[in-house]
């Protein structure tokens, strides 16, 4: 034992006896309930993590599909949009040639992709609610 150990020990004991607390301690029941709520929130977050990941992947897939579709038929689409210009309409050529290059498959894909996008948006809104 060092020379100063008894002195330090006495000082620490006296220091520990000082009561510094002014208000009451937090209630044990409140702490218990809060902790349980926190635990359930964490469990819920953990459980919904795979769903969130799938949702993000679906968003990326849909965005990629839209980009691919538009890129694939960009020329035909821009020609189709241009055909709606007043000058084109006056000349009587509204969309005739452009519509020929946009196949039925393209329109089917467009409808399918739009449906998937709407479904995904609804799923996100409903899941959040």
């Amino acid at each position: 034992m060092s020379d100063f150990e008894p002195e330090v020990d006495a000082w620490m004991k006296q220091f520990a006896r000082l009561d510094e607390r002014r208000g009451p301690l937090p209630d044990a029941n409140t702490l218990w309930v809060k902790a349980k709520l926190m635990q359930s929130t964490i469990a819920m977050e953990r459980a919904s993590q795979p769903i969130t990941r799938v949702q993000i992947a679906a968003y990326l897939l849909v965005a990629g599909s839209w980009a691919a579709l538009v890129t694939w038929k960009w020329n035909a689409l821009s020609a189709w949009f241009n055909s709606f210009k007043p000058a084109h309409i006056i000349l009587g050529a509204a969309g005739a040639s452009a519509a020929n290059s946009l196949s039925l498959t393209f329109f089917m894909m467009l409808i399918a992709l739009a449906s998937v996008t709407v479904m995904l948006a609804f799923h996100t809104i409903l899941a959040e609610e």
Partner: protein, 186 residues
């Protein structure tokens, strides 16, 4: 132990199983309340002496118990639980100091007694605040909580062998501060 198992056992066997083997059941609200009543005051004092701020002590006390409950404590030895909670509190206090350091604030924060009024309580707080956080933890756990070197080592994250040396240095430092301030015979 299942309910069927309990029914089939004799009363003596049941008593032996319950009290000698100390089954590990999750802590329920009543047990937590009893443990909290026994520990919270001491733990608050420890955190307060470490941080020097009552509001921070309140906050860290709650965080400590939240972390404790999140770890799904089992009804084991009370001493073991007490050491576990002091270890958790020590980690949180050290994290708190790290956070303060990151924000370039002065540590320890708002130590009571920064007012000119000279009071024994404030003097003691100021003396203790002069020590490093690790030294404060070492001295409190050793002299107030009566923890062993192994327990202190676990709490502050050092080897038990190092605790002896660190504790010696902390005592020496505190004794030096007391001598310097003329408080050797409080």
């Amino acid at each position: 132990m299942t309910a069927d198992g309990l029914i089939l056992q004799t009363p003596f066997a049941f008593a032996t199983a319950t009290f000698q083997r100390t089954p590990k059941r999750p802590m329920d609200e009543a047990k937590f309340e009893a443990f909290y009543r026994k520990t919270a005051g001491r733990l608050w004092s420890y955190i307060f002496r470490m941080t020097g701020n009552a509001a921070t002590a309140d906050d860290l006390l709650q965080k400590t118990f939240f972390r404790f409950l999140r770890s799904n404590p089992t009804i084991a030895d009370d001493d073991h639980l007490r050491h576990y909670i002091f270890r958790t509190a020590t980690n949180l206090v050290f994290d708190h100091f790290r956070e303060i350091k990151r924000h370039r604030e002065l540590a320890p924060e708002a130590v009571p007694g920064s007012s000119p009024s000279v009071d024994l309580r404030h003097d003691m707080m100021r003396v203790f605040a002069e020590l490093k956080p690790q030294e404060r933890a070492l001295l409190w756990l050793a002299h107030v909580e009566g923890s062993s070197h192994e327990e202190i080592g676990e709490a502050i994250g050092v080897k038990a062998k190092s605790v002896r040396v660190l504790l010696f240095r902390a005592r020496k430092r505190l004794a030096g501060i007391l001598e310097k301030r003329g408080l050797t015979h409080v």
